[in-house]
Symmetry: C2
C-alpha cells in the first residue's frame, strides 16, 4: 500500500537558505530564494502573533486575510460539530503553513487552537499572491506546498478508509517521529502535545481504543508509553505494523 507515512504536515526538511529576516529562516516559504527576494518576502511576513495554550489562532467562519506560518509551538485544527463535540482535522508544528483551506471561500473552514504556547507569522495572502507574481520560484514553491497538502490529505483518507486501530496509531506515531526528526529533535523519543481523545478524533477512533492500541504496542515492546511521553523502541517493527494493513490480519 502506498500510504504516506507523513500524514498531515508541510515538509520543511529541505530548508537551507540563509536568511536575513530571522522570522523567515525556519519557515517553509523562503526555500530557494535569494537574499533580495527574501527581503521582499520579509516585508510581507513581518507581523508576528503569540497564542497561548488553549487560545485560538482563528475560528471557523471568520474572514480569511492571511496564512499563518508557525514559528514555534504546536496547534490543532478542528471543526465543531453541531452537538458541540469537535473533530480534529490536523496537528501542526513549527515551519508549517496554516489557512490553506480558507483561500477557497475567503472564510476559515476550521478552528485553529494552540496545544502549547505558540508563535506564528501572519502572511497577508493578497500580498503573497502579489509578490509571487514577481518571484516565480516563490509561486512555484507555494503551489508545491498546496499540492503537498492535498497528497497528505489523500494519505489520511487512505488511513481512515482502510487501516485498523493499531495500524492507524502506528502511522500517526511514525509521522510525528519523522516530523520531529526533521526539526532536529529525537525521532525515537518525544512528548505528545495532544490528548488521547484528540488523537482518536484525528484517527477516527474512540479514546479508549487509542489507549488500548498504545498498551498493545507497549506489550509488544515496540514502544514505551509513559502518559504523554513516547519512546519508540523498535521503529522497524512499528513500520511493519502499519505497512501490512491488508496482508497480515
Amino acid at each position: 500500500m502506498l500510504i504516506d507515512t507523513s500524514l498531515h504536515h508541510l515538509d520543511i526538511s529541505h530548508i537551507r537558505s540563509s536568511c536575513a529576516t530571522c522570522s523567515l529562516r525556519e519557515l517553509c516559504l523562503p526555500v530557494g530564494l535569494n537574499d533580495q527576494e527574501i527581503q521582499v518576502l520579509g516585508d510581507v511576513v513581518s507581523h508576528k502573533r503569540k497564542i497561548q495554550r488553549g487560545g485560538y489562532l482563528h475560528r471557523s467562519g471568520s474572514q480569511f486575510q492571511s496564512l499563518f506560518a508557525i514559528r514555534s509551538g504546536f496547534l490543532k485544527t478542528c471543526v465543531l460539530e453541531e452537538d458541540g463535540r469537535q473533530q480534529v482535522t490536523g496537528f501542526h508544528m513549527t515551519g508549517e503553513l496554516l489557512g490553506l483551506d480558507a483561500i477557497s471561500t475567503d472564510t476559515h473552514t476550521c478552528d485553529a487552537i494552540a496545544l502549547e504556547d505558540s508563535e506564528v507569522c501572519e502572511i497577508p495572502f493578497a500580498k503573497l499572491e502579489e509578490i509571487s507574481r514577481t518571484i516565480p520560484s516563490l509561486m512555484r514553491h507555494f503551489h508545491k506546498i498546496m499540492s503537498r497538502e492535498i497528497v497528505r490529505d489523500h494519505g489520511v483518507m487512505l488511513l481512515l478508509g482502510s487501516m485498523k486501530a493499531e495500524e492507524r496509531l502506528a502511522s500517526f506515531l511514525l509521522n510525528l517521529s519523522r516530523r520531529f526528526l526533521m526539526r532536529g529533535y529525537s525521532e525515537s523519543e518525544f512528548n505528545l502535545r495532544m490528548t488521547r481523545e484528540e488523537i482518536g478524533s484525528y484517527l477516527g477512533l474512540k479514546l479508549e481504543t487509542v489507549s488500548r492500541a498504545f498498551s498493545k504496542l507497549q506489550d509488544e515492546n515496540i514502544i514505551t508509553v509513559d502518559n504523554k511521553h513516547i519512546q519508540i523502541n523498535d521503529i522497524a517493527r512499528l513500520r511493519l505494523k502499519m505497512g501490512n494493513s491488508s496482508c497480515i490480519t
Copy 2:
C-alpha cells in the same frame, strides 16, 4: 456537523463566461476572464486527448507535466496497494481538474482511469504558472481551486472518520446529485458509473456493506435502486440521513 455534502470535486457551478475557445467554455479555469485573457489561456490549453473506458489518463509514478481538465466523461483516481487491490481516492466529472496532487513532487501520486469514454484538455502546468503571472484573476482562481480540493478532502476525512455506512452512502449520493445538477442534469435520477466495489473503496466500506446500505435506503423509500440506476425519491430525508451522524444512532 459541518461536513460538506460535496465530497470531492471542483465546483463549476459559476461558469458563465462566454468564450471563444469552445474547449474552454465548460472548464473550471476561465472563470471571470475577459476575451483576451481567455485567448491567452486557450493557446495553452489547446491539446485534447481522448481516453477509452478503462484506459489510463496517467499512472502513479509517471512524470508530471500537465494538469488535465475534463471536457466530458467520468474518471476515478486511485492508488494501487502492494497486494494488487486498489483504493479509490476520488471520482471526477466534466469541468473538474485532475493532477493537482502531482505538483508537489512533479510525479503523479495516483492512477487516473476512465470509467466511461472521456475527453480531457491537457494544460501544461509550467505554462499555466507562467501566464497566471500576467493574469492575476487566473492565478487567484487557480489558488481557490486548489484550496477547495483541500476543503473537500477534509470533508472526506470527516466522513471516513465519523460516519457510519448508511450516512456515508447518503453523503456520496447527495454529492453526486449536486454535481449532476450543476451540470444541468437531473439531481434526482442518474446512472452510477462505478461499481459497488469502487464506491466501497472510496467510502471505506466493503462492497457488501454498500449493497446493503443501498437496499436499506430503498426499503425506507428514500431512493429507488435498479442496479446502476439511482432515483432519489426524498432528497430531504436523504439529507437527514447524513446530517445526524452523531445525534441519531
